[in-house]
Symmetry: C2
Subunit: 226 residues, 2 copies
Amino acid sequence: MSRRERLRAQTSDEIKAIALKLMAEGGPDAISLRAIAREMGMTAGAIYSYFATRDDLVTTLIGDVYTSLVEAAEAARDAVSESDAGGRIMAWAQAVREWALANPEGFRLIYGDPVPGYQAPEDSPGIAAGVRACAGITGLVAAAWPVAGVVLRDYDWRDFDAGLVAHTREEFPDLPPAGLALTMRVWGRMHGLVALEIYGHLRGLAHDPATVYRDEMRDLIASLGL
Amino acid sequence: MSRRERLRAQTSDEIKAIALKLMAEGGPDAISLRAIAREMGMTAGAIYSYFATRDDLVTTLIGDVYTSLVEAAEAARDAVSESDAGGRIMAWAQAVREWALANPEGFRLIYGDPVPGYQAPEDSPGIAAGVRACAGITGLVAAAWPVAGVVLRDYDWRDFDAGLVAHTREEFPDLPPAGLALTMRVWGRMHGLVALEIYGHLRGLAHDPATVYRDEMRDLIASLGL
DNA sequence: CCCTATGGTGAACGCCGTGTAGTAAATCAA
DNA sequence: TTGATTTACTACACGGCGTTCACCATAGGG
């Protein structure tokens, strides 16, 4: 890597770091090229040699932030013995909620709507992180398979995306198609309460959302027969 | 109501209608005072005699939109016999998802982050609609009480907001505090998958999210012993 | 040592929300 | 009917935004 490339990467990292700082302080909308440039002693136009557009920068940030969330969840899961499938689910779930509470703006960035009509490009790092999250939850489900107490319909592999199916069958050969459906349901169940809480819809209803969430996750784990 | 007041209300309604149209076309960020005024053949400044600020307008819209969602859910629920508690839950859940699919931008407006750092004022119509939604789900839970197969911790009335508790004890005198916790859990469970779907996080994973969601709701209903 | 590719500037364009001063018309009081 | 006042609205200005473009200084490689 030449000196030029090094400097370039450094500047690019600084842009992202400042963007993340601005976001943490003022939400996703506070990520403005002019504010970033101001903080760097540059002109807004200069950023365009690093990111084609503001949305491009945000797309990159989503990838970084999403990856940090997934890594937090994976680390929490891996801190629990593989033999304790239920404990690993709880660890993942708690890590997600705690990460979200610590990085509410990041959560909004990932699961909210950073840009009107924004659609992440197929090959963005955000998509990769999403796939990784999905794979993580699939692993949690697979470790509990066969599940005991969940209402399950029959599914077909064709009900799901081919790439996802290929990856799943390779990594979790014993998991039937219904396992993928259950993965999404588990994901939804972990996501729902956290999203409501982060976006303030539980504000002033329950004083301790953590307890409600823990109960919900205990019920989820119990329903898997763990 | 005088002629003045009638004209005033009419103009105000037109502003809101155009704002909703703009939102449906381009997402919440497309609600700009200038665009509304342009469409009405007015100046942007004129809107300030109807709404103190753009956020004020959005706050009002949230109330309208949220109310329309709650009314759709209530209507669907009421179309099912009171004796069929499980059917009423399913009807509510399906109505919420279908409304969200038909009004994705509305869903984003209610449950997303329309404005950076936006906090709805305590007395906004959006709060009222939220309370109404919460009450609706509480009713669904109360109709199934006592629940059979859910992991429930003991709760205290003091774990919840006093106003919510007062309303609940009056309307559903047989529901213990844990019922309120379960209400939030049910809400979260209905919300999670829909939010993931609306925000595109299931895109390209499951070909038919409706089936996954229906299964999840069936499981929820079964877990309540219905 | 020169040439060029590169990272940067600064001004411009057209959006945006938001104030303020002024105007014309509608309403009300006499 | 006439005069006073309230009200709806316009015109303009300010600062902020993303984005583009012509231009410049300089660091790197031959």
